[in-house]
Amino acid sequence: MQSRSKLDRFLWSLQQLMKIDAMNLVILVIFVLIGWSLISDNIANPARYLPSPIAVALSSVDMLVKGLLPSYFSDTLLRLIIGSAIGLAAGIPFGLLLGLNRTVADMFHPMLNFFQSVSGIAIFPIVVIWYGNSDVTVLIVILYTSFFPIAFNVLSGVREIPIRYINAARTLGASRFQVMKDVLFPGAMPHIATGSRLSIGFAWRAVIAGEMLAGRQGLGWMIFTGQDSDKTTEIILGMVIIGFTWIILDHYLLRPLEERTIERWGLVQR
């Protein structure tokens, strides 16, 4: 009797544990790892097509000891931060400035839309001809990818602000700068938040692709050379790192920021 109630209590606590998301995640990871190693055990030439998780973990240790992994990682991250910071810092004021005047806003909206749809990776060959396979090339591609989505989104946001708010501020004697600071900027805030998340998302993919194509050291380069030199462990390691980095960036930095901004500023009523 005693033991039964103990078992019940154990099962109950296990169930409570199952309700926690972290526990789900652990179970999931264990399942994925088991499935992965089962597949890699049962295919021909696993070292080439799908190395086991242990091999990948070992290669990560190897790369850590050699100091390659931290340097690649910091290179990629630094590129992303510099590129998207400049892109955002230029794109937000640009969008706001264009939004000051309705006519100008209507004028530039299609053009920004056009350049937004030309992806940064597509202009990569042009930039390569201009600057060669250099760090500048990668940086310009990132700048381009982060600038246009944010500028387009900010402009769209500004255009959605009811014109009577602007008129009200003007009637009360606000200068152009004050209109921009007190009406347009807060009004476009939700769009700025969404746009920056989109921008950084595109920029992150552009960094990876740019490193692959231009051959600059970084995570993209790591997985690309891993394919060249037949080191599939490095490819998978790089993919896992890229995935986790983006999850951390997106879920713990950008998305909370976006949600908070929309909560705080997204109450513009028509």
Binding site: D21, N24, L25, I27, L28, V32, R48, Y49, T103, D106, M107, F108, H109, P110, M111, N113, F114, S117, V118, S119, I121, A122, I123, F124, P125, I126, V128, I129, W130, F202, R205, I208, A209, M212, L213, G220, I223, F224, G226, Q227, T232, I235, I236, G238, M239, V240, I242, G243, F244, W246, I247, D250, H251, I262, E263, G266, L267
Partner: protein, 286 residues
Amino acid sequence: MIVLSRLSVALQRRFGRQRIRKIALGSVPFLVLVAIWHANTVFEWLPPVFVPAIGEVWDAIFFLQEDCPGFVPLIQLDNDCMMTTHILSSLGRVILATVVGLPAGIALGILAGMNRPISKFLEPVGVFANSISGIAWIPLAIVWFGVGWVTTLFIMLNTIFWLMFFNSMLGVRSVAKVYEDSILTMGGSRWDVITQVYLPGAMPSIITGMRMSMGFGWRALIAAEMIGGDSGLGFMIFTSAAEFKIEEVFLGVIIMALIFMATDRYLLAPLEKWTVERWGLVWKPT
């Protein structure tokens, strides 16, 4: 003068005043850009190796299509039709990946979203797969499938599938359980619940996923064609750049932008509008 004013009145009647104004205003920056581009050719601020003349870009179309033996080989993706073959093979991949990936992603997403315990497990999978989808898969895809058609298709399919899967799963989960219960109470079957409750309820999320999957998928496809492809627009501009044929690169980039804008404007935007009108749920005021 009278003719002009009559023409403008007729145009305004046909298309509407606002639309005419928008088109006229919107074309101004493009015209300015083209003018600057032309001025650059005339005054040679930047050498023609870096920025080609407009005429050269136009001529590149005919140069690329010069050896094309006719209409039938054009459709059969003959290698001599150097422009249309690449356009059609890119488009073909987009269409194939959409036709396969979209229904598969939606169906599996709804299935996963129906069962809450399972969807709890699958959500992290979706998050992770979405964060590495597309470009990061290219090297592994090359190892698995080699350089060529399959790799590029795989990249596109991968991007579309995971975005659709994740978005429809989240969409189904956001549907209030009351609706499902009410259908079941009124004697509806499981299938009725799916078609009458889950699918419409998840529609806004699904449409968002579609737009996103087009945006991300098209970008990933271009990168995949450059790195691991042997045909397609991305491959075309990459090889042209390697031969320093900048006019072909410009041509390819412009074609890509036009195709993307056309799909977004004439396919996805009307779809989104239709969804808003039909179910009225896309835009939720906070």
